[in-house]
């Protein structure tokens, strides 16, 4: 099981992806992407309600939801109740190469979690140049700067999430600008090589019982 995913998705990868999930992706569509475990923490019910509101204003707005979890059935049902089931694509859990296609084909990421540590989906999306509509909570605040690489919203305000989705869907220029800035913070702070060095140092220090100074001299 060697990783075969360390290349960019080609046009044929994207075609295969669209064929597999029976997606007709065209330039008129604006795709909002959600990559999150379907649990209450991720606040996906509010996201669906916000999407339903936003899609009233933007008929070409679509939502792709990647992830599985305890709320999967509930969210399917809610999308039917809200009458937006035809504009939402549920992917459940998909492998890394397909996730890369999803990032590549989407226009922005929506991440309205109620609380977080350091969300991997946001880091990956930013690295991939996707602007992020993120919740203004610790964890996301370290990654997303309002107006620089994404938009910050109050995760408990459906209108706030909906407004940001409409804003990004309408304003292509803003999307492009945020997209250009998106990878900067990830390149600067979360690249594996630098952190792995500190990780190795931390492990060694714990083994040897030394005073640990990772905080002080190395990582800020």
């Amino acid at each position: 099981m060697i990783c075969q995913h360390s290349r960019n998705p080609t046009a044929s990868d994207k075609d295969d992806f669209c064929k597999k999930f029976q997606i007709d992706r065209n330039d008129q569509m604006t795709i909002a992407l959600s990559v999150a475990k379907m649990s209450p923490q991720k606040n996906l019910k509010r996201l669906l309600r916000a999407f339903a509101k936003a899609s009233l204003h933007i008929p070409q707005l679509y939502l792709w939801m990647v992830g599985s979890g305890e709320q999967e059935k509930e969210l399917h049902l809610l999308s039917i109740q809200l009458g937006v089931e035809k504009r939402i694509q549920f992917f459940s859990s998909i492998p890394q190469n397909e996730l890369r296609c999803a990032y590549n084909l989407s226009d922005f990421l929506v991440f309205p979690s109620i609380f977080e540590g350091l969300p991997r989906a946001v880091v990956e999306a930013l690295y991939y140049g996707l602007p992020v509509i993120g919740a203004n909570i610790p964890g996301v605040l370290e990654l997303v700067q309002n107006g620089f690489n994404g938009l910050l919203v109050d995760p408990k305000q459906i209108d706030d999430i909906a407004f940001s989705m409409v804003r990004l869907a309408i304003d292509k220029q803003l999307r492009m600008q945020l997209s250009r800035n998106a990878p900067c913070i990830v390149r600067k702070r979360f690249m594996g090589d630098a952190i792995w060095g500190l990780e190795a140092k931390l492990y060694q220090s714990v083994i040897e019982g030394h005073k640990i100074d990772v905080n002080k001299d190395s990582y800020k």
Partner: protein, 205 residues
Amino acid sequence: MDFKAAMTKKNYAISLSKASHFAERWGWDGMERILNPKNAFRCVHIVSFNEAHHFSIRRYGTLLLHTVPRMSKKILRFPLLSSLRVAQVFKKLVKQYGVSLLIDSYGNILDNGLPTVLAARWCGIPSLVTVQNDYHQLFSTKRIYLGYAKLNNILEHFIYRNATHIRSVSPALVSYIKEHGIKESNISYLPRAFDLSTFTQPDSF
């Protein structure tokens, strides 16, 4: 690196709830890069306890995979019971391979942190626990059985008090750990390393 130099390196053990998911996501190469940072360790023992199937690979480079026998879904719902099973496997590894450090680095703190801390105490070796979420809020969103959140909060507190060192992946979580009465000198803020080499950027960047 020659054999002599390799033998001077230490080894450590880590528990992952489903190592197969990890391998599927990152590939075995990626998994080795992530779990054996900078190849600083001779061997990394992975204890994968929530696996319904057996692995086709038991060893990959410096990674050595171990499963936990007789781990049913029922047992997994009760962190104390499942942790005791995993801790016993850890204990065996410490004896058999001379493991120098036990680490909980990925997944839920109860699933991975509790056996790490328990086994480290039994064997008298250091343990490192990683906090990557606000568990107090996380437990309160789940209602698996009556008293689930309360029990988990007590166990979480036990883990922090008994870990040799705690790593926080976000600065906001440092204050969360401090609320449990842990000294700042026992906490390190170090974000998760993202193996972005398996996630190359589009050519336009």
